[in-house]
Each structure stands twice: as structure tokens, then as C-alpha cells.
């Protein structure tokens, strides 16, 4: 427990060989590295899942709204006007999202200070 606590700057090579204990209780430095690695992995996986959930939600909402706005009479194919409308609608929706996002976050922050 006493050695290898401080960032492992001095005896990096001897750390592995110095420990007389074979496997079971991990040396502090090994545990630290594993924990840091595991922490990083957990954060990466959760971040990625959140990003996917967010993107899925956005795709869902844009599809619904732009379909409603642009494909009023669904025919045998999406025509050029509907495609163009969808493109514009997509960008327009993103602008709307950003507008709402900024206004909402500003308001949350203001109400935080009010309380």
C-alpha cells in the first residue's frame, strides 16, 4: 500500500516486478490505472448512448414535423418540391431547436438565481 501511490513517477519498471504477491490483491498503482480506464470507458459509453438518444429524438421530431409540412399529399414518390421543402424544413427546424434551447437555458439560469 505504501509504494506507488504518487503517480508512479519514479519506479515505473520495477512496479510490476517488485510486488511479491501474484495476482489477487492488485497493487495500488495497477488498481488506479484500471479504475481510471474503467471510468473513462463508462463515461465514453454513456456519452455515446446519450448522443445517440439525442440524435434519434431529433430525427424522429424532424421527420414527423417536416413530413407534416412538406408531404401533404403522399404520392407514389417524393417529388422534387417535397424534397426541397424537406431540406429547408430540416434546417429551419434546427434553427428553431437552437432558438428554443438558448431561450430555455437562459430562463433556467435566471430562475436559478432568483430562488
Amino acid at each position: 500500500m505504501a509504494f506507488g501511490l504518487f503517480g508512479g513517477s519514479s519506479n515505473t519498471d520495477s512496479d510490476k516486478t517488485a510486488s511479491p504477491v501474484p495476482v489477487a490483491p492488485l497493487s495500488t498503482s495497477t488498481l488506479g490505472a484500471n479504475a481510471a480506464q474503467a471510468k473513462k470507458l463508462i463515461q465514453e459509453q454513456i456519452s455515446q448512448e446519450l448522443a445517440i438518444a439525442n440524435a434519434t429524438e431529433l430525427v424522429q421530431k424532424i421527420t414527423e414535423n417536416c413530413f407534416q409540412n412538406c408531404v401533404k399529399n403522399p404520392g407514389s414518390t417524393i417529388d422534387a418540391a417535397q424534397k426541397k421543402c424537406t431540406e429547408q424544413c430540416f434546417e429551419k427546424y434546427m434553427h428553431g431547436w437552437n432558438l428554443v434551447s438558448r431561450a430555455y437555458i437562459t430562463r433556467i439560469q435566471q430562475s436559478k438565481y432568483d430562488i
Binding site: N34, A36, A53, N69, Y93, G96, L99, V100, A103, R107
Partner: protein, 89 residues
């Protein structure tokens, strides 16, 4: 991306667990805010973008409408909370 294995998770000490829980809490609140933004945008878009779409930008009327829609929705939310609080007394 490498897979998380249970051994790596088991190797986490109490301090790391605490840090991760705190991080997850903060990511959770961010995700909730984001989810609300999705719902508000959806709701206000339906109210405010009623004309045919001919531009990739919101015009002044539409963007004012979106902002007002959000603000008045939040006002309404606060009013409903007050009404419920009043009803409990």
C-alpha cells in the same frame, strides 16, 4: 471502442464510484433539459410554423412566435404548479 468488462467495473474504488455517480447525475440532468427542448421545439413548431416552407430560416414572425410559445408555456407551467400548491392547502 473497447468493451467494459465486469472485472474492470469491480476494480473501481469507492472514490471512483462516487465520481462516476456524480458525473452520471449531471449527465442525467443535461439529458432531461435536452429532452425538454425536443418537446418544446416540437410543440412550438406545430403552433408557429403553419405556412408553407419556402426558406431554411425562421422569419421574424415565426421566431418571435417560437420564443413567446416557450416563455408562455413555462409561465403556464409555473401557474399550474401554484394552482396545485394552492389546492393542497
Amino acid at each position: 471502442m473497447p468493451e467494459l468488462d465486469s472485472q474492470a467495473l469491480a476494480s473501481l474504488d469507492a472514490e471512483s464510484r462516487k465520481e462516476i455517480m456524480q458525473w452520471i447525475d449531471s449527465e442525467n440532468s443535461k439529458a432531461k433539459v435536452q429532452s425538454s427542448i425536443h418537446n418544446f421545439t416540437d410543440m412550438c413548431w406545430k403552433k408557429c410554423v403553419t405556412k408553407d416552407i419556402t426558406s431554411n430560416m425562421l422569419d421574424t414572425t415565426e421566431s418571435n412566435c417560437m420564443t413567446n410559445c416557450l416563455q408562455r408555456f413555462l409561465d403556464t407551467n409555473i401557474n399550474v404548479v401554484k394552482l396545485i400548491q394552492a389546492a393542497q392547502k
